[in-house]
């Protein structure tokens, strides 16, 4: 990267400004008042060019999803015809996959796991985040460093002993291992929610304390309601993470009746793809069924996704 060579630039940038500002603001003002028209035509074409470029990229980003949805309504022989509108409309794919695979059961399992995972991780992470944000105690920074440190640890290191714990508890094969870890909070959400709690004015809590609110009330009646947007971010992120997870279902679920929908989709692919005669129409349809709830989630929680992700980056 060329950043190195440019590194000295930023500190020196204010200098030219300092050089211009002593000469009274005139040139700047004239610039602002006299040039807009000229700039605006130039800018307009530039903006339109930008939009065009972005439009092309958008098509590249969105079209695979549209392709998938369209293909799910095509008969087997036409799945790969790359038409936007199916030549032969085959909604029966959905009936077939629904009958051949326990999709309803898988969806039910997934909803159960996902809701439990998202609710528990939101509540537990909020509690921990509040503990770090509001209170002062010895070793706080060390402990919080440890929280962040766990994010660096590859999941592979703890994966096997964690499996052995659930195996020891006789819970391999059940849905519990897919969400129960979330009872104990998750570093990423703790970080996110702590940032939010820190932004709340402290006076608010001191006032409530004087009114006789205890620690638990401060948390549940004041902090939590104020941080609803951040809670929504945690809930939505975990909902997505849990819904789309394949590795844990692969590790913990044995019986087809306990599968989540991603695990089910993998089973469909194995059965109708590699192990069968490539019934692509069934595989595509199952893929769409797996994906659609996430698309819906996105349109419900769009705002929160953008806000949450933008916050993630500000850590950098």
């Amino acid at each position: 990267m060329t950043i190195k060579a440019d590194n000295p630039t930023p500190p020196s940038v204010p200098q030219p400004k300092a050089a211009t500002s002593p000469t009274p603001g005139q040139p700047e003002i004239r610039r602002k008042t006299s040039t807009p028209r000229k700039v605006s035509t130039g800018r307009k074409t530039a903006t339109i060019a930008t939009w065009l470029a972005l439009g092309v990229v958008t098509v590249a980003f969105i079209y695979p999803l549209i392709w998938l949805i369209s293909a799910s309504f095509k008969p087997r022989s036409e799945v790969f015809d790359n038409r936007l509108i199916p030549a032969t409309f085959a909604p029966e794919n959905y009936v077939t996959v629904w009958q051949d695979a326990p999709i309803a059961l898988w969806l039910g399992n997934t909803v159960l796991v996902t809701v439990l995972a998202a609710v528990t991780v939101t509540i537990s992470s909020a509690m921990v985040a509040w503990g770090f944000a509001y209170y002062n105690f010895r070793g706080k920074n060390l402990l919080f460093g440890l929280v962040l440190g766990t994010m660096m640890l590859p999941g592979a290191v703890t994966m096997i002993p964690t499996f052995l714990i659930w195996n020891g508890l006789g819970m391999v094969g059940t849905l519990t291992p897919l969400w129960a870890n979330n009872l104990f909070g998750s570093a990423f959400y703790i970080f996110l929610l702590r940032q939010f709690f820190l932004s709340l004015p402290r006076d608010l809590f001191e006032a409530a304390k004087l009114d006789g609110a205890n620690n638990w009330k401060l948390f549940t009646h004041i902090a939590l309601p104020l941080c609803r947007p951040a809670l929504a971010v945690a809930f939505i992120f975990e909902f997505q993470a849990s819904w789309t997870d394949l590795m844990r279902p692969l590790i913990y679920l044995r019986d087809e009746s306990t599968f989540t929908i991603p695990r089910g989709l993998k089973a469909v692919l194995d059965q109708y793809g590699f192990g069968g005669n490539w019934h692509w129409e069934t595989i595509v349809t199952a893929s769409v069924i797996t994906t659609i709830p996430m698309i819906v989630l996105f349109f419900i929680g769009q705002r929160h996704f953008v806000a949450g992700i933008a916050t993630t980056g500000s850590k950098g």
């Binding site: 204010p14 980003f61 994966m159 104990f184 703790i190 789309t244 996430m294 996105f298």
Partner: protein, 316 residues
């Protein structure tokens, strides 16, 4: 430890103040308790036990059998380890820079898109919602060598596309190509960082006669170098652990077990060793090698970042 307000109280009623600090610590630890329990049970113990298991032969059914460093020795001579590590490094080395550059370029474009930026941002993020399993299915569909969408589009330009899913040389490039579908998150983070660059900097550079390209290269990029660094690290760690897309598309068991050496990522090999062959000791050793590799790479990146990254707050 005492905050100013409690100090003031100390003067008047020392006993109450002391009690409140003690109470604070107790309350804090009550709030932190979920994380502390989770850390002890699901992080600290697993890390220790995984280290121990890596020195044993363990198949879950029989007790671990201590073998010293045998697993690590075996790793050195296991051709699949070097294969999997090579595949993973190949994937990381190409996918991360492509990911960062593409996301940055699109964010720069978005930053000039004015009112339409919100719409495009949404459009770019949408494919991020596709579950990785479904992305794995899409690898097989869109990258199909004969009539997949990608090769059809290449065909418009007279390019004969490769057999992405069967030609060992093209399997990983295909996976990298599909991984671009998940650029959306990085784009949002970059865009947020770009918007946080103070406008005065650009304005003064403009007055100084810097053109758009110079302003981007010499002001915007250095100002967001922290974000570039953050995303590089996060994406590198993720790339080293990539699993789901490649596993879905190229590994599994239908009526016959199948796999593809070209797509054998380290995470997949580790997973197979642990949960297909129940070589839990060997898999634990593999996990520790992964940990060391990821840690080394991260440390190198952190070191390099000292030269390349500009932190505003670090300036006097």
């Amino acid at each position: 430890m005492l905050s100013t307000s409690s100090k003031r109280r100390t003067a008047k009623q020392p006993r109450a103040a002391r009690a409140s600090t003690k109470g604070d610590t107790r309350a804090a630890f009550l709030f932190l308790s979920p994380w502390i329990i989770g850390f002890l049970v699901f992080t600290l113990w697993p890390v220790g036990y995984s280290a121990y298991l890596s020195l044993t032969d363990y198949d879950v059914l029989n007790n671990p059998n201590f073998v010293g460093l045998d697993n690590y020795r075996q790793m050195l001579s296991d051709p699949k380890v070097s294969l999997a590590l090579g595949n993973t490094i190949f994937y990381t080395v190409f996918s991360v820079p492509i990911h960062i550059i593409a996301a940055l370029a699109l964010a720069l474009l978005l930053n000039r898109a004015g009112r339409a930026a919100g719409f495009f941002r949404t459009a770019f993020y949408l494919p991020n919602m596709t579950p990785p399993v479904a992305v794995g299915v899409m690898v097989l569909l869109l990258l199909n060598g004969q009539n997949g969408l990608v090769n059809s589009v290449l065909g418009w330009f007279g390019i004969q596309g490769p057999d992405w899913t069967t030609d060992p040389n093209w399997v990983k490039p295909g996976l990298i190509l599909m991984s671009l579908l998940t650029l959306g998150g990085s784009i949002i983070i970059f865009l947020a960082a770009l918007r946080a660059v103070p406008e005065e900097l650009e304005e003064s550079a403009k007055l100084d006669g810097a053109n758009a390209w110079q302003r981007t290269l010499r002001i915007k990029l250095p100002m967001i170098s922290g974000t570039i660094f953050f995303l590089t690290i996060v994406n590198t760690i993720a790339a080293f652990q990539s699993f789901t897309e490649a596993y879905t598309a190229f590994f599994g068991s239908g009526s016959s077990t199948y796999g593809n050496d070209a797509a054998l990522f380290y995470g997949i090999y580790l997973f197979q060793q642990a949960f297909t062959f129940l070589h839990m000791g060997y898999a634990s050793a593999l996990a520790w090698l992964l940990f060391v590799v990821v840690l080394l790479v991260t440390l190198i990146q952190v070191r390099l970042s000292r030269r390349f990254v500009y932190y505003e707050s670090a300036q006097p």
